[in-house]
């Protein structure tokens, strides 16, 4: 266990010693006087704390914007972080092109959200192709401008110039993931680089907190003031980040980020392509992981309904054994899974054969970057006008995401006609008793179960 580590901050090496591993990157930056990075929501919804990290890419490396409020400091050990203070040349006239464009387009009013927008735009500025402004900025909130000038500032950005120091930087490789064994203030942080090390740590410390992307765990840390005595971070295990294209299934490593899942599988699994942009902003997708979403087992996690409808299996491992189980057997209760205290979720195995027709629906107060009131994944396999297989899965209507097996079974052998819709609606009506909460009433959720099926029918069999 070491009491220190290093990382690169705005191009300069920084030594960290004696800082509690429960400290977020945001808190660390601000305590160092880098106060351009702001806290506003502390749950990854507003992007005021966005910074850029350098990650691996086919052609050298690329910048990824992340919420620094959701990054525990030791996660940047060995890494490279850029903040709003570091992106320009230093003198006021040396504004970075994204800074200049935002200022020229009146893209700031109170200015508090502005550094976060700068960092999302900065990371996106060097991507080829660039994301549309609205997609790129889905994780940044502004309360003043109404966004129009910010979108115009983004749309007006020139191509990077040849002399841009950041372009030169990205031609080199990203820092590789390093092992971390760090302790301070009575708390410990482990970041193994092999699955064997990870499983050994898990066996030795079954009570340790598992950290994947942190987009749920660190929210709880910030909102509830929770402290972790021992953390096992899984982000540096290469085997857990891989996405493999096998003969009859896609095997997604448990800590593959949503960004990587969308890049690799977006055009192969249509429901994922529909779901991911609605599910999370780029700032979250750059950190959040598929395995984290399944392991945290939120009843409103959007990934689970999609994967349930696709008949996904999950693979878990301990130091001594491996097992594979259907995802429908994974969720045992409210935020409880079949994962044993010595096990890790290793991979998510998605069958390659896609449904004849499928849709992901998300009902929420805001279209992007909101948590679902109800989500539904509807998948139907047909042959000769008859349904051979159907799976309907829902989030937000029970203590766990659920596959409505009876409703799916009721459809087999039939065509997608009005009578079949009525029978499926009756089946889901009797299968669920949703609850009231801050997002929606029980009555609305119950109505959505049936209504989303009707929506599917209207779109697929009008």
């Amino acid at each position: 266990m070491s009491a220190a580590f290093e990382f690169t901050l705005n191009g300069r090496p920084i030594a960290v010693a004696g800082v509690d591993p429960n400290t977020t990157l945001l808190a660390f930056l601000r305590a160092r006087g880098l106060t351009g990075t702001k806290e506003s929501c502390a749950e990854g919804e507003c992007g005021a704390c966005a910074v850029a990290v350098v990650v691996a890419h086919a052609r050298g490396s690329r910048f990824q914007a992340v919420n620094s409020c959701l990054v525990l400091l030791p996660e940047v050990a060995g890494g490279e972080v850029w903040t709003v203070e570091g992106v320009c040349g230093g003198a006021p006239e040396d504004l970075h092109p994204v800074q200049r464009s935002l200022a020229e387009h009146n893209g700031s009013q109170c200015g508090y959200c502005t550094p976060g927008f700068v960092m999302s735009l900065f990371a996106g500025y060097y991507d080829t192709p660039r994301s549309e402004p609205r997609a790129l900025l889905a994780g940044n909130l502004c309360r003043c401008t109404g966004y129009r000038p910010i979108c115009e500032a983004a749309a007006a950005l020139p191509a990077p110039t040849a002399g841009d120091v950041h372009v030169a930087r990205l031609q080199r490789a990203a820092p590789g993931p390093t092992a971390v064994e760090y302790g301070a203030g009575g708390a410990h942080f482990h970041r193994p680089t092999t699955l064997e090390q990870a499983l050994a740590l898990r066996a030795r410390h079954p009570d340790a907190t598992l950290l994947a992307g942190g987009t749920d765990l660190v929210v709880e840390h910030n909102q509830e003031g929770r402290r972790h005595e021992r953390v096992i971070a899984l982000s540096a295990v290469a085997a857990l980040r891989a996405i493999e294209d096998r003969a009859d299934e896609f095997v997604v490593g448990a800590t593959a980020t949503w960004h990587d899942v969308l890049q690799r599988l977006g055009d192969r699994v249509p429901m994922l392509a529909q779901m991911v942009p609605l599910f999370a902003s780029p700032l979250i997708r750059n950190r959040g992981t598929l395995g984290g979403n399944l392991t945290t087992a939120s009843p409103v996690g959007d990934a689970a309904p999609v994967l349930l409808a696709l008949d996904t299996n999950v693979e878990v491992a301990s130091a001594t054994a491996r097992r594979t189980l259907p995802l429908r057997e994974w969720f045992l209760g409210y935020r409880r899974t079949a994962l044993q205290p010595d096990e890790l979720l290793v991979a998510i195995r998605i069958p390659k054969v896609q449904p004849t027709a499928s849709r992901f629906y998300k009902v929420s107060k805001r279209e992007l970057d909101d948590i679902s009131s109800v989500s539904a994944a509807v998948a139907v396999w047909q042959h000769g006008g008859r349904v051979t297989q159907a799976r309907f899965a829902f989030g937000g209507v029970a203590a766990t995401p659920v596959l409505a097996s009876a409703a799916g079974a009721a459809l087999v052998g039939r065509s997608l006609d009005a009578a079949a819709l009525r029978d499926c609606q009756a089946a889901v009506r009797s299968a669920f008793t949703p609850i009231d909460d801050v997002r929606a009433s029980a009555a609305y959720r119950a109505a959505m179960l049936e209504s989303l099926l009707a929506k599917f029918w209207s779109e697929v069999a009008p």
Partner: protein, 772 residues
């Protein structure tokens, strides 16, 4: 950047713009505060045990009532907010505060403070407050004509009720105050406050020191929207108290959850109305009863209710009108100012009424709206002449034309016929908003302008910068009046030792009041410099021109600095104060009559939406706005205010929902549970134009206030949603709850599908009942 753009933009984009917490973290001696919050909505505090907390690492103090040397209660109007309550009156109310070396230490210790409570019954809604006769105020009323007789005589009558939701400010920078001692024993209060003078006074009262011992500075705010008009005071007082007790600098910074659970919001309103009208939809009589939810203390609620009473007419002439209102007392956070200050809630009600009248008669709502507009010579229900009343008709006609309203209406009707599961809606709504503080005494402002011998200038005024671009506008006024170049002028942080006894930067009045005060100070300085320059140039005073730092006359020119230096040598004072009190305004609250407003700001908006019939989900497709800003002082800033205000109003009406649990605890207490508009809500078509030929003689350089009025343009979105919902049914009025989140819209669709005419009939049975 563009000349009219934001003065501080380049500091925003580099992260160099500092906010209060950024200052505090630079001082390692600073102690950090964390509140101990009530876990009951209403309870007596019987004991506070901080023993365990005080033994935790880094903990320096537990602030409680016995630490307060001065006033133990605060409040902007009525001192009814205890700093350390012995009876907690809402869930989340701070009971005590822990001070520690680090914020996480303070937070951990606050969780270990044991508070014993004796739970008391709680009133948690307006309806419950009415039933329990729980009010913070006596009723206010404004009456014009004989509404009861006119209702009786009207050929058509409708009655109904509407609950209008609250709104979280969600300024991106949470409440924050940092207090340290200066070298002479004074208290320096850095506060994210819209009202430094009141923050200063509050701190002085709590510490029991004269106001001169306290200087409050508001460098800039990361948004405020009214939420820091009165409610910054508590946190400054706690920080000052902590500084007084420990002798160390203390910062009070709320995180988002603390901010949302402790501070008040836009007032929810409950309205009952009855309207009489003729067969053409002309309003003949309107009776409205309003009851707002003030929360646990008065705060600014009575003035907010008053502004609602003033705006129940919006742009409509109602010959016989009675509006009465009262503020309910509930066991919830104390609701406070928010952009529009009661006006929006009242205008939502009257737009609902007018739309219902139109749909009841089968007339297009835009026709009925226009038919009821004020005409030149009309007076409002409180007796003020509606100056420039013809403007709303002009705006309406221009906007209908530029937005292509008629052909879009036809296209939408055709689209709706072809789409059974989705419908589009279109609406146009007007805005008239009265400009001035309705508390007449607040309409005053001061400025202090200092010219140095090198020709550089410092401008001080009482207004605060919260992102609205006030300093940029005032800079433009100073530059234009003095004739200097923009880079010669430095806008100083707002401080109470530069301009005393200022009013809050609120009521959209920041540039009207402070801009005019600065203009007067600069004008006086210019008046002193002109004869000096004339003598130097060898021409008459009135031949001297000063622009962009160059003084011209008699065919010659001089740098501004040379004239200044000569004036110094001649012993002419190179500083001046400016003072402005809005003339001609008055209001007699008892009679409900007067001229409370200097002028009205006008505007209208067209909104087009699409609604999914399966879920009630909706999308804003297009917005067209024509708004009256007078002669704009800074068009880019004004456009920013219009667009930003519109989206904030749209959020209030369509996606933001304040939800309390049955225990009185706020459930929408973070960005994940309270959804303000994101970039996806910005409409793909967003056309904003400013009214031409609109010089306002009553304000500085012919300009108009722009902070609040555009928020109410967003009522067009609500009415467009109603129009879309109506297309799912067979005609007739449409009941639509507020806010119109997808769930609300879904139920409205279900209702019109089931029984298109029933909603109207059911509502007709209701008669206004009094809020007592």
């Amino acid at each position: 950047m563009s000349a009219s753009g934001h003065e501080r933009a380049s500091r925003h984009v580099t992260g160099d713009a500092l906010y209060v917490h950024d200052l505090a973290v630079r001082d390692p001696a600073t102690l950090h505060a964390w509140p101990v919050q009530s876990v009951h909505a209403h309870a007596r505090v019987t004991a506070i045990d901080g023993g365990d907390a005080l033994r935790m690492p880094g903990v320096r103090a537990l602030l409680t009532a016995r630490d307060v040397p001065g006033a133990k209660t605060i409040g902007p109007v009525r001192h009814d907010e205890p700093l350390f309550p012995d009876e907690v009156c809402y869930h989340g109310q701070p009971v005590a505060w822990v001070l520690a070396d680090g914020e996480s230490q303070a937070r951990a210790a606050a969780a270990r403070v044991r508070v014993a409570y004796e739970v008391l019954p709680a009133v948690l809604s307006i309806q419950a407050a009415i039933a329990a006769d729980s009010f913070l105020t006596e009723p206010q009323a404004i009456v014009a004509g004989d509404p009861d007789a006119a209702l009786g005589a009207a050929s058509h009558r409708l009655a109904g009720e509407l609950h209008v939701g609250g709104q979280e400010h969600f300024y991106l920078e949470m409440q924050c105050a940092w207090v340290h001692r200066d070298a002479t024993g004074g208290f320096v209060v850095h506060s994210s406050t819209q009202h430094p003078a009141e923050t200063q006074a509050t701190v002085a009262h709590v510490l029991d020191v004269p106001a001169h011992r306290v200087v409050c500075e508001s460098l800039r705010m990361g948004g405020a929207f009214g939420g820091k008009e009165s409610q910054a005071n508590l946190f400054a007082a706690i920080a000052a108290l902590g500084c007084h007790v420990t002798g160390r600098p203390v910062v009070v910074r709320l995180d988002r959850r603390r901010d949302m659970t402790i501070t008040g919001k836009r007032h929810p309103f409950f309205a009952r109305y009855e309207v009489g009208f003729d067969g053409d939809g002309r309003l003949q009589a309107l009776v409205v009863e309003l009851c707002s939810d003030g929360g646990y203390s008065l705060d600014l609620s009575n003035a907010i209710l008053g502004r609602a009473l003033f705006h129940i007419d919006n742009c409509y002439r109602v010959p016989h009108l009675r509006v009465r209102g009262r503020v309910a007392r509930t066991h919830l956070p104390s609701n406070t100012a928010m952009r529009g200050f009661g006006g929006p809630q009242a205008m939502v009600v009257v737009e609902e009424v007018v739309d219902r009248v139109a749909r009841t008669l089968g007339l297009p709502p835009e026709v009925v709206r226009q038919r009821n507009f004020y005409r030149p010579g009309d007076r409002t229900h409180y007796g003020q002449q509606v100056r420039d009343a013809e403007r709303i008709d002009r705006i309406w006609r221009e906007l209908l034309a530029t937005s292509d309203y008629a052909s879009r209406r036809a296209a939408i009707d055709a689209w709706n016929t072809a789409h059974p599961h989705a419908k589009r809606g279109l609406a146009i709504t007007p805005v008239k908003f009265g400009i001035s503080f309705t508390t007449t005494a607040l309409n005053q402002a001061g400025a202090l302008v200092l010219v140095y011998r090198d020709g550089s200038v410092q401008v001080n005024h009482g207004g605060t910068e919260m992102g609205q671009g006030l300093h940029s506008k005032v800079l433009a006024i100073a530059v234009r009046t003095l004739g200097v170049a923009p880079q010669q002028v430095r806008m100083m942080p707002t401080r109470t030792d530069k301009v005393p006894n200022t009013s809050a930067t609120a009521a959209s009045s920041g540039s009207d009041l402070n801009g005019e005060a600065v203009r007067r100070a600069c004008d006086e300085l210019r008046g002193r410099l002109l004869p000096v320059a004339a003598a130097m140039l060898g021409c008459a005073d009135d031949e001297v021109g000063i622009t962009d730092g160059v003084v011209r006359g008699g065919g010659r020119e001089l740098p501004f600095a040379e004239v200044v230096e000569r004036a110094y040598q001649q012993r002419s004072p190179l500083f001046a104060t400016g003072y402005y009190a809005t003339p001609g305004i008055h209001f007699d609250a008892a009679a409900g009559r007067g001229e409370p407003f200097r002028y009205f700001a006008w505007g209208a908006a067209v909104a087009e939406v699409e609604v999914d019939g399966f879920t009630g989900a909706h999308r804003l497709r297009a917005v067209d706005i024509l708004h009256d800003v007078g002669d704009s002082l800074a068009p880019a800033i004004d456009r920013g205010q219009i667009e930003g205000g519109f989206l904030q109003g749209m959020g209030w009406l369509t996606c933001e929902q304040v939800v309390f649990g049955a225990d009185g605890a706020l459930r929408s207490r973070g960005a994940s549970t309270y959804k303000l508009p994101g970039v996806g809500e910005c409409p793909p078509r967003f056309v904003v134009n400013m009214l031409s030929r609109a010089t306002e003689p009553g304000a500085v350089f012919g300009s108009k206030a722009v902070g609040e009025p555009p928020l109410m343009l967003a009522i067009a979105v609500r009415e467009a949603l109603r129009d879309a919902v109506a297309a799912f049914g067979g005609g007739g009025p449409v009941a639509l709850a507020c806010p119109s989140v997808p769930e609300t819209v879904f139920w409205a669709i279900q209702a019109v599908r089931r029984a298109p005419a029933a909603t109207a009939a059911a509502a007709d049975d209701q008669r206004p009942r009094s809020c007592r």
